[in-house]
Amino acid sequence: MTPKELALKSIGYRKNILKYIYGANAGHTGGSLSCIDILNVLYNHTLNVGPDNFKSPDRDRYIQSKGHCVEALFVVLADKGFFPESDLETLCRYKSHYIGHPTRKVNGVEQNTGALGHGLPISVGTALAAKMDNKAYRVFTLLGDGELPEGSNWEAALTAAHYKLDNLTAIIDHNKLQITGRTSDVCNTDPIDLKFESFGWAVRHVDGHDFKMLQETLDELPFTDSKPSLIIAHTVKGKGISYMEDELKWHHGVPNKQQYAQAIEELDNAVATL
């Protein structure tokens, strides 16, 4: 897909994220909007995974560590045909499988997540399994920037470099916000790149909303032979909706009727600017 086609797709994804969060009256709005362009490029450009080969041992694996942004994942999986989009009308409702965090009861989900700091160790394990069997599939994981202080991430980062897992890519959704404030105020992790480089990773920075740059960067994987790759994706929490962008309260905020209407209008208008 061209960057422009991807951009158009993302507008549709954003509308769906908001639609289902609004319908459920629950969800993680800001962080889903910050990572959706990354998921878009992963699923529509990079990963060799879809409903037809999801059982294949050779499929690429995607594990979402920031599980709270399940709406972004579900919307993309529905678009890929893993399940009917209308299923998402039950999101977060009683008796639905489409609960507030990724679960393997939903087709297309590799791993139950939601407790932060779990995705990277799991992905390292999966990448190790691929190496053991000389498999060519690759493993991708998406982390929040606020979850980096979990020590498990740094333990896993050591293991990944130790075993030279160049089939592993971690992407950090660096939206600079978490629940209680700016990541730099809560627990400063800067400079993230130097930390990972000193742990033995190959690191790149990208604009997490620039489709061309995301495509080109992902095409270059692995960045260095015999090293795990880290992509620090600079993003905006709440991206695409003027009043949500970079606003703390939209982490778990749900738009009211008028806000929802305005958001959809803004997204409709964005189509013309592509």
Binding site: A24, A26, G67, H68, C92, R93, Y94, K95, S96, Y98, I99, G100, H101, T103, N112, T113, G114, A115, L116, G117, G146, E147, L148, P149, E150, G151, Q178, I179, T180, G181, T183, V186, C187
Partner: protein, 317 residues
């Protein structure tokens, strides 16, 4: 059946926030640590008025428990705050080694326990925390029933020297216990005296037990209702005194049957007074998404389930 009038419903986590704020004013050694959930834990007031005693450690719960253990060596009384699942399972080894085994004066304060967390679903709905915590030697385990009691418990545990697990929740529930109550750790609280059955309830299930008591009274059943806010140490004397009179028991809790209050009572009865027991709780299952009411209904954590358990256990007398 006694009446329990109340004028407002409130969340128990706000009781914790109010108690912590109070402690900020009265006890200069009290410090608070949080793992990116200040608002959810209602720690904002403490943070605002005592910023030099508040530590936002970020999403790093294991680190937070270690820091708290370390602060006790410097004479502080640390209160840690995060969701109940991240307060226990996530950091069990830190609590076991650095807090319980080391006999540290850390207060582990845990919100959003149980299925009443609601929509976020199973990852966040811990139902094993009481069991994990009560198995640890030296650990005191408290699960108060409403806002006033949670506030009183928060204040009381600062004066107790030793590790404490304090569990509370997210939904608003009737605030029916007195605002001026004195919280006595380890002391069961008889809410209603009765002769036909002893109902021992903890946390959010205490109010459900009161509702059940009213239904039972209409059926001519005179239930003794006891609030077990302290799971450990268990008030064995009070429990045995009640059961000696009623000769049958129902336990009720928002927790797995394995490892919870009912499990502690079963052990006590088996050892000292073997009499029939029925247990209301979650039977070996994870939670799911839904509103708190829907989930309490599905997992049979309500007055209907308590009434049925009473009928069943009385038939076994």
């Amino acid at each position: 059946m006694k009446d329990f009038p109340y004028t407002e419903s409130k969340d128990t986590r706000s009781g914790f926030g109010a108690g912590l704020h109070e402690l900020g004013k009265t006890n200069p050694n009290v410090v608070a640590l949080c793992a990116d959930l200040t608002g959810s834990l209602k720690m904002d007031a403490f943070k605002k008025d005592f910023p030099e005693r508040f530590f936002q450690v970020g999403i790093a719960e294991a680190n937070m428990i270690g820091l708290a253990a370390g602060m006790t060596i410097g004479g502080k009384i640390p209160f840690t705050g995060t969701f109940a699942n991240f307060s226990t399972g996530r950091v069990y080894d830190q609590i076991r080694q650095s807090v319980a085994y080391s006999g540290k004066n850390v207060k582990i304060c845990a919100s959003h326990a149980g299925v009443t967390l609601g929509e976020d679903g199973a990852t966040h709905q811990i139902l094993e925390d009481l069991g994990m915590m009560k198995m640890l030697p030296h650990m005191t385990v408290i699960n108060p029933c409403d806002f006033n009691q949670t506030k009183a418990a928060t204040i009381a545990i600062a004066d107790y020297e030793g590790p404490v697990y304090l569990r509370f929740g997210r939904p608003v529930v009737p605030n029916f216990t007195p605002a001026d109550q004195k919280f006595e750790i380890g002391k069961a609280w008889v809410l209603n005296e009765g002769k036909d059955v002893s109902i021992f309830a903890t946390g959010h299930l205490v109010w459900k037990a009161v509702l059940a008591g009213k239904i039972l009274a209409e059926q001519g059943i005179d239930a003794e209702i006891i609030n077990i806010h302290t799971i450990k140490p268990l008030d064995e004397e009070a429990i045995l005194a009640s059961v000696a009179k009623t000769r049958c028991v129902v336990s009720a809790e928002e927790h797995q049957l394995n490892g919870g209050l009912g499990d502690s009572i079963a052990q006590l009865l088996a050892r000292k007074m073997p009499l029939p027991l029925e247990m209301v709780g979650v039977n070996d299952s994870f939670g799911e998404s839904g509103t708190p009411e829907q989930l309490m209904e599905k997992y049979r954590l309500n007055e209907g389930a308590i009434v049925e358990a009473v009928q069943k256990v009385m038939a076994r007398k």
